[in-house]
Every structure is written in structure tokens, then in C-alpha cells.
Assembly symmetry: C2
Homo-oligomer: 249 residues x 2
């Protein structure tokens, strides 16, 4: 189905930047090579020099860094419509890897095509730039999350972020969404041990604010969860204006 990849791109970008009709039709014409990657497969490896960026059409990916010690830090999760390595457009060698956490559908967009469209449509260029700036804002928030909050709050914060991101792209139903990560992956994202993730998770569940089973996150009390995580969505820089009221609380 040609164009579905472009639709995902446009939808994702639209949550991060303003797109005119002209921008949309230009983006709709962008050539995108689609392919499937299986769970556990790397989409990009640290040190690569890609000539194209990977759009996530469906599924879930993360970027991560591996240390000499063998430890791993997940630095971000990406959902449908995100371009996890958009920065590779201008940063020649990748400083992180990207991994599919579940079977995913991705689309490759050649850097040359991105540069062409950027040159021709300044507002598209601005939108892409802005998308990378939003990613950066999220990294800042993660740094803060890891540096200042304890295990429970960190986890609550991550769950809030995940829910909101998916609500915005219409992948959540009410206050629940799919989040197919193992506790080991949560541990790597939160800078905690697996055991401690397990305990914090059970504590969160016991408090009645969330359920998290079989890859599904159900938030029973978003207010409580946001409070617990010190979550304030403004760092996501969402464009709420023309976005339908996705049950904005």
C-alpha cells in the first residue's frame, strides 16, 4: 500500500510542527522504502554512517548505547510516526544504536530526498529541525528523570510520557496503550536493576494507579501517576491546536 508510510510520517510530524497543505503534499510524494524488522533486530548500529533515516511506521523501537562494561542505556522510545535517527541527516556517524523492541514496520527515507525537500520547502525543513529539537527536549527530561527521581517516580514519569505520546497519535484508547517492553528493557531505560524494576512496578500496581501486563499499560488514575512522576507534558512541545481533543485532561 503505497503512501501509508508517508501518512505515518505526516501524522507524526504534525504532532511536532505545523504543516501546511503544500508541505503535506510534498511529504506525501517522498519516496519511502518499506520493510519489516523483527523484534530484537537492530535498525542502526553505533558507528554506522547511514545515507537514509528510518521512519517508524508501526511497532516500537528504542535508541540505546552500549558501554564497554556491557551495560546498556536506552535513551529513548520511538512510536509510530517518529524518525528515530533523523539526526543522522546531519550527524555523519551514529552515536547510538536503534533496536526494534517488537516486530516493526519501518520506512527508509534517503537523506538526499530529505535535503531536496528541505531546500524546496523551508517550512518542511523547519518541521524536521523542530522534530529533532523535540527529541532533544525529551533527552533533557530523561536526564532529569534519571538524575533526580527515585525508582517509582522515574517509572511513573516514563509511563506518563508513553501514554501521552500515544494518545497524541491516536494509538491509545482512553488512558491505556500498548507498551511491549520487558522489565529488563524498562530497567535499561530507567537506569535500574531488573529486580528493582520488578519491585517498583509491583508497588505502582499495588497503589492502584496502573496495570501493566502482557505489554499493555492501563492507567487507572492519570492524575496520581503524573503527580507521582512529577510529569508535566510541556517538555513534549506538543502542538495541540488542530489536534482533535484526544481526551485532553
Amino acid at each position: 500500500m503505497p503512501g501509508s508510510a508517508n501518512a505515518a510520517l505526516i501524522k507524526g510530524l504534525a504532532t511536532k510542527a505545523r504543516l501546511s497543505e503544500e508541505d503535506r503534499s510534498a511529504l506525501a510524494a517522498l519516496p519511502i522504502d518499506e520493510l519489516h524488522v523483527q523484534r530484537g533486530q537492530d535498525v542502526l548500529r553505533e558507528g554506522d554512517r547511514p545515507s537514509r533515516s528510518a521512519l517508524l511506521i508501526s511497532g516500537l523501537t528504542c535508541s540505546y548505547k552500549t558501554l564497554a562494561s556491557g551495560r546498556r542505556q536506552i535513551t529513548a522510545f520511538y512510536h509510530a510516526g517518529d524518525v528515530p535517527d533523523l539526526q543522522s541527516l546531519h550527524l555523519d556517524v551514529a552515536d547510538n544504536s536503534i533496536l526494534a523492541l517488537v516486530d516493526s514496520h519501518i520506512g527508509y527515507i534517503r537523506h538526499r530526498d530529505l535535503e531536496d525537500i528541505s531546500a524546496k520547502y523551508p517550512t518542511v525543513s523547519k518541521a524536521l529541525w523542530r522534530a529533532t529539537l523535540v527529541d532533544a527536549a525529551i533527552y533533557r527530561e530523561w536526564t532529569t528523570n534519571l538524575g533526580q527521581r527515585d525508582a517509582m517516580s522515574r517509572m511513573a514519569h516514563l509511563f506518563c510520557e508513553t501514554l501521552v505520546k500515544q494518545q497524541v497519535i491516536g494509538l491509545a484508547s482512553g488512558d491505556s496503550c500498548m507498551f511491549p517492553v520487558t522489565q529488563a528493557e524498562l530497567a535499561d531505560a530507567l537506569g535500574l536493576s531488573v529486580v528493582h524494576v520488578n519491585r517498583s512496578l509491583m508497588e505502582l500496581r499495588a497503589s492502584g494507579t496502573i496495570s501493566f501486563e502482557r505489554a499493555e499499560l492501563i492507567v487507572h488514575d492519570l492524575g496520581a501517576l503524573e503527580k507521582q512522576g512529577g510529569f508535566d507534558r510541556s517538555y513534549l512541545h506538543l502542538r495541540m491546536d488542530d489536534h482533535a481533543p484526544h481526551k485532553l485532561k
Copy 2:
């Protein structure tokens, strides 16, 4: 002295992106309002909607976030030639504050002027974009640092980063540089308590790899420090080609 601010900007950008002669002369003509800020003064506050970005001409600034709990996370340090809030060019409301850690000299560049120059000189636009991408890469590394390394290694990593950044802009003499931060500020950057920063610092000093007194960082054994911190400069995406061999090890 007109132009010294522009020179700082060009020098800083040149470490992060390739600039043609044409780019340089365009940047040299950019209007920049200079002013001094005193130590402890905010250059920008979370929630602001600036219409200009702040170039750091001399001194030291950091970006930080304050939590409801009163805790604070420093998310980055900025040196001469950096533009700490360049992202505000496209991100309307600031999600962090910026603070002068010592008396500093900064220059304001109007967003309108940046947009004009970007429209006219695509390679300048690309250079600015790339500068924000390098910042993002550093945030990713910090997330990893906070999530995966223990106190000593975190600190070693930060010292390596600080030294290398200053070597690149010519502010270091050999393997030492000024780094006028208090231990409390280090604590906020590293996600540690002041007491623990003090102890880790003394341990680092005792190991003979560094000295850190009266705002001066002296690295006696860079190899050992890099090893301790698991430091690999590639995430800084430095352009080493036309940069004089600043004692590149």
C-alpha cells in the same frame, strides 16, 4: 569592540560544522547585542518565550530544570562559542532555564536575524541545525552517564568532556582548564549529593589522575581519566579536520 561576539560565534560553530568563507562573512555581519550577566543570574527561565537566542561569548553557563520537590538537575554546561538556547529558535516556550555560573559575557541574536540568514545561506542553516544536534547527542550521553555509571566514573566522564570541549576552542592549556563550578553544582549535574561528590572527588584526586582546586581542573593522566569515565569523544561529533592539532592524543 564590535565583531568579537561574532568571532566567538563563528569559532564555536566551526567546531561543530563546516563553514565556508561566505558563511563566515555572513555570520560576521549578524547583529549581536552584547551584555554582561553576573554569576548566579538567570539568562533564561523555564516558560519564557524568547525572541532571541543567547550566545555565550565568555564565561560559563548551564541549563537546568527545577522540580516541584525543589531539586535541580543541570542538563548541560556551555562554554564560549556555545548558544545555550539555540533550540528556542524553533521551540517557542523554553523547557529549561539557563544560569550564569560565573560572571559572563553574552550576546543576544534575534531569531528574526537567524531566520533571515538561514533562508539566505542554507549551509549556515545546516550548521545551526547541526549545532543543536550535537547538543542533543551530548544529552544522550549524559542520560547514559547518569543511568549507568557510578559516582566516580560519572565525574571522570564529565571532567573529560569539559576538558575536551575547552581544548577544542583553545581555552585549555595542555590538559588543564578552568571549570568554575562548586561541588554543589557538580552534584546537581551528576545527580549526586554534595557529600558524595566531595568524597568521590577526593578519591579521584587521591588516585592522582586530576587536581581540582580554585576553579581549575588539571588532568594529570588523561588516559586514566578517560578509562575511569568510559569516555569516548565521538559523541561530541567534533570536526577535527581543519582544527589545528590541539595536542590530539
